[in-house]
């Protein structure tokens, strides 16, 4: 019944609108307004362009200033400072061009609206002007390109030798991280060895794998270079850590990487944002299926000492899953036993 009355209501409204439209058409025929330039509303449209220009610029500046803190995320990495500087330089340059061109567009539309007593200026070309607005953008773009190349090459340069190497793997629909353990070498992996428990497909013929550990969260040392070795197991994913200005696709069959230096610990960030529950996060930015929007990984940035302590408390994956000892070759079993013992198990 409600549906029916809505339908009737919509029908009546449409009928009224149609009636108004017909009446308006007939009035127009009487007034011959269609014979005037711009259907008799030329001034109206010109005026509306100015209203739009002023109104929208007002809205733009008001909102941009008022909500600056909402869209400008605090920066927590060293390279993030430089990429953000480039972002804001670009913003200033394009902002100025934006204002000039939009103002001219709407102002010209308003100023040069039709007037029967006036004729337009016959002005078909002018090479000097063309040259001017070819060369000026070219110069400005050169500045942006050169600065951009400088920043890009620095960010993408090989990681320093002393970088903490951590593996991050995306799969439908979560991230897993793996640390190299005490030997500081990540064990090799083989995707054919993956099963429900051995999510990384660790290859236990490689002795480097015995002390690798797989925590639930990503811990990072403040102020030290960290290199993420990124891979995916099933489809494309993309590691995105917004506060670190970090993004890199995770590609099945092709390892990728991204190195950076975290500059603020989680505790410091909590203080800076005034949010006692603040946490760094990693999200996925390459569409990967149903759960794309839920691939959250918690990131913790520790002071270097806390980070070392946390690392020493972690148990190697193999010691947590002793049934995989069966995959270790006979001659390496003893080594595997020793390497997979963590500090905490030794103490006991």
């Amino acid at each position: 019944m409600i549906g029916f009355s809505i339908a009737v209501g919509v029908f009546i409204i449409l009928a009224i609108l149609l009636l108004i439209f017909r009446l308006h058409t007939l009035v127009n025929v009487m007034k011959e307004s269609d014979k005037k330039a711009g259907g008799g509303f030329n001034k109206g449209n010109a005026f509306l362009f100015m209203v739009f220009l002023i109104g929208s610029f007002g809205l733009l500046f008001w909102y941009s200033v008022k909500n600056f803190h909402l869209y400008q995320l605090p920066i927590a990495s060293e390279h993030g400072v430089t990429t953000d500087r480039l972002f804001w330089i670009t913003m200033w340059i394009t902002g100025i061009v934006f204002i000039i061109t939009q103002v001219l567009l709407f102002y010209f539309s308003f100023k040069y609206r039709h007037d029967e007593n006036r004729r337009a200026l016959f002005f078909p070309d002018n090479n000097r002007l063309e040259l001017l607005w070819t060369i000026v953008p070219a110069i400005v773009l050169t500045i942006l390109v050169v600065y951009g190349l400088f920043v890009w090459n620095k960010v993408m340069a090989p990681a320093p030798k002393n970088a903490e190497v951590i593996e991050i793997m995306g799969y439908q629909f979560a991230w897993r991280v793996r640390y190299p353990g005490k030997d500081e070498v990540l064990g090799t992996h083989d995707y054919r060895k993956i099963d429900a428990t051995n999510e990384f497909g660790l290859d236990f013929t490689d002795r480097a794998a015995y002390d690798d550990f797989v925590p639930r969260e990503l811990h990072l040392p403040k102020g030290q270079p960290v290199e993420l070795k990124i891979r995916a197991r099933d489809v494309l994913h993309s590691v995105f850590a917004p506060h670190f200005r970090l993004k890199m696709d995770a590609v099945p069959g092709m390892p990728t990487r991204f190195w950076f230096i975290p500059t603020k610990s989680t505790a410091e960030m909590r203080e800076e944002t005034g949010n006692s529950e603040f946490n760094y996060e990693i999200a996925c930015t390459e569409v990967c299926g149903k759960g794309h929007f839920s691939m959250r990984l918690l990131v913790v940035v520790d002071e270097p000492a806390d980070y070392e302590k946390w690392k020493s408390e972690q148990q190697p994956w193999l010691s947590k899953n002793p049934e995989y000892m069966a995959q270790v070759p006979q001659d390496l079993k003893e080594l595997a036993m020793i390497k997979s013992q963590s500090e905490s198990t030794k103490l006991n």
């Binding site: 058409t25 711009g38 259907g39 509303f41 030329n42 449209n45 010109a46 739009f52 909402l70 995320l73 480039l86 670009t90 394009t94 934006f98 061109t101 567009l105 709407f106 040069y112 039709h114 004729r119 337009a120 200026l121 016959f122 002005f123 078909p124 070309d125 002018n126 607005w133 070819t134 953008p137 773009l141 942006l144 390109v145 951009g148 890009w152 090459n153 439908q172 995707y191 497909g201 990124i230 099933d234 489809v235 993309s238 995105f240 917004p242 506060h243 993004k247 696709d249 590609v251 099945p252 069959g253 092709m254 529950e277 996060e281 999200a283 390459e286 569409v287 929007f293 839920s294 959250r296």
Partner: protein, 616 residues
């Protein structure tokens, strides 16, 4: 020479049969080889798709703006895509996003825009009886039609349509285990796009051939309207880039169905390690964007052409820098082929390649800037008449500035690290190519409607349509810049899982409401369009006092376009407000010998050549 032979031949044919009514309903209106009917077929099909594609965006905008609201009331339409708790299914959300992109980019803004206006305007503006091959032209439409049918069917199948994004990156698009839309839905998508590519190629070959061979007497390349130049370059881009997409799609079909490993390597999915080794998902991205990037110029360049024509006509002023406009179109055409990898800065591609593509990408901003400044100078000291077409053209320039400038952010690889795949990108391309091209298409419809249907559209409704759309589109896409700078990723079903993306709830709701209003405003246009076809005021032959040749045809041009001889062209198409002339326009078919009062010094010499042109 050949062209005149063909023209003469058709001239005779037309004279012989001028008053004979031949053909029946089916040959005249369905399997027609007349370029004007084919153009209208493209237009109507494009409008149909625009409603579907736009409607889909309304559903996902509801989800994004009001994630808490129940969608139960959509069950009659969407069935089991509404979960038992009354929510939109997350996989169907992705399907909607994917189909919205595919439909808008290919079916609306490529077929609906190029298909309509290239077909309609090329013969009319260059002075030809029809396309070089009417039959191929008909095939082009019907391949598009079949492609549309296949895509339409895919929306209704049980596993859902393709849902890995319109870019269909494998492995997601190759593995039905990864997402249900990669089953039958993806197969149908690939079939549909393959047919679509055939259609585009048939059309493109025809456009190029017609423009080169069938220009009327005196219509040299330097006298072509900018619309024709833009259609010419657009067709060239399409001809060179679409086959690459066909190749990419073919390899994907092999990977999906025949066990090859072009794009697949070392995959463990659904509890199983796949045998594929050695393939590269990055390879697909290179191939896809080799079409995908030129495609955005395929979408925007016809809109540029249309806008140039409309802005010049309604400013009553020659387009400023005709030659510079052509050179910048040419520059965009060439550069469009060497910028594709700026979509892949963080794909894992070698960073050095990123540097090269960043350089090339930012170079393409120069011809774009030239175009904008030339539009502004055309408006300067004009005598502007705000027809609805003119309003939409000004709107296009505004969108192109707003969206083009953000290209300098995302084209700079270092800045793109943060912005890639966020709402900033969504804002950027919806303004610069989505809305701008859409406005170009709408402007074209308003401007050439009197020629297409012999009647006028209602101006007032046009103004309402413009203002609601113009303000509405800015209200939809401008706020997305803020959301994007804050890092919100695109293609997210909801943002509640992340602390970092917990803000902007109100702004997202605002965007959704603006989107609903904007979408609703399009129905004003639809009413105006269909009502005016039957009941609009009868149009004069040249309602906008325009210079180009199509306005020299009768009110309802018949088969062959001109009842008598095709007019000869003597001058460029932009002689508006020429000093000394009586009227503020001089059509292209008026010889200089008849306008001694307004001829410029170098044009006096042209008078001597006129006899030779007429004889040619």
């Amino acid at each position: 020479m050949d062209s005149t032979v063909v023209n003469e031949h058709i001239d005779h044919a037309v004279e012989d049969h001028a008053h004979e009514h031949h053909g029946n309903f089916i040959t005249n209106y369905i399997f027609s080889t007349d370029h004007k009917i084919i153009a209208k077929q493209y237009l109507i099909t494009g409008i149909f798709w625009a409603i579907i594609g736009g409607g889909m965006s309304m559903i996902f905008r509801l989800q994004l703006g009001f994630p808490e609201a129940t969608m139960e009331w959509l069950r009659p339409l969407l069935g089991d895509w509404i979960t038992s708790t009354g929510k939109l299914d997350p996989e169907f959300y992705l399907a909607l996003v994917t189909m919205h992109g595919t439909i808008m980019v290919f079916f609306v803004l490529t077929a609906g825009l190029s298909g309509t206006f290239s077909n309609y305007l090329i013969p009319l503006q260059i002075g030809a009886r029809d396309m070089a091959s009417g039959f191929m032209n008909m095939l082009s439409y019907w391949f598009f039609f079949v492609s549309s049918v296949v895509m339409f069917i895919s929306i209704f199948i049980e596993t859902g349509p393709a849902s890995g994004g319109w870019v269909i990156y494998p492995p997601l698009s190759a593995l039905p285990q990864a997402i249900s839309g990669s089953g039958l839905g993806m197969t149908l998508w690939l079939v549909s796009i393959a047919l679509f590519i055939v259609s585009t190629l048939l059309g493109g070959i025809n456009y190029i051939t017609t423009i080169i061979n069938l220009r009327t007497k005196g219509m040299s390349f330097t006298k072509l309207p900018l619309t024709i130049w833009s259609f010419f370059f657009t067709a060239t881009i399409g001809l060179l880039s679409f086959p690459v997409l066909l190749g990419a799609a073919l390899l994907l079909i092999f990977d999906r169905s025949f066990g090859t490993s072009f794009y697949l390597s070392e995959i463990y999915i659904a509890g199983e390690a796949l045998p594929n080794m050695g393939g590269s998902p990055i390879l697909f991205q290179h191939l896809f964007w080799f079409l995908g990037h030129p495609e955005v110029y395929i979408v925007i360049m016809p809109a540029f052409g249309i806008t140039s024509e409309i802005i010049s006509t309604n400013s009553r002023k020659p387009i400023f820098g005709y030659k510079a406009m052509i050179i910048s179109l040419l520059g965009i055409t060439v550069l469009s082929f060497v910028v594709w990898a700026h979509h892949m800065f963080v794909s894992g591609m070698n960073p050095f390649l990123g540097s090269i593509f960043m350089l090339l990408t930012l170079i393409i901003a120069i011809p774009s800037a030239v175009k904008v400044f030339n539009y502004l100078t055309t408006l300067w000291k004009g005598n502007i008449i705000f027809t609805p077409a003119m309003l939409f053209s000004i709107g296009l320039v505004s969108f192109f500035i707003s969206g083009g400038l953000t290209g300098l952010f995302v084209g700079n690889s270092a800045v793109d690290i943060q912005l890639h795949d966020t709402y900033f990108i969504v804002a950027h391309f919806h303004l610069v190519m989505g809305s701008a091209a859409f406005f170009g298409m709408i402007a074209g419809v308003y401007h050439w409607f009197p020629k297409m249907f012999g009647r006028m559209m209602d101006n007032k409704l046009g103004y309402i349509h413009f203002w609601l759309s113009f303000v509405g589109i800015y209200m939809v896409f401008f706020p997305m810049h803020y959301i994007g700078i804050a890092g919100f990723p695109r293609r997210y079903y909801s943002f509640t899982n992340f602390d970092a993306f917990s803000t902007f709830v109100d702004l997202n709701a605002f965007v959704s409401i603006a989107a609903l209003i904007t979408f609703a405003a399009q129905f004003i246009f639809l009413f105006n369009f269909f009502y005016s076809i039957y009941r609009g005021k009868k149009a004069p032959e040249n309602p906008w006092n325009s210079n180009t040749l199509e306005w020299t045809t009768p009110r309802n041009p018949g088969h062959g376009n001109w009842p008598g001889e095709i007019p000869t062209v003597y001058r460029w198409p932009y002689d508006y407000s020429k000093p000394g002339a009586k009227e503020d326009f001089i059509p292209q078919n008026i010889p200089f010998s008849k306008t001694p009062e307004s001829n410029l010094p170098h044009e006096v010499k042209e008078i001597e050549k006129e006899k030779a042109v007429e004889k040619a």
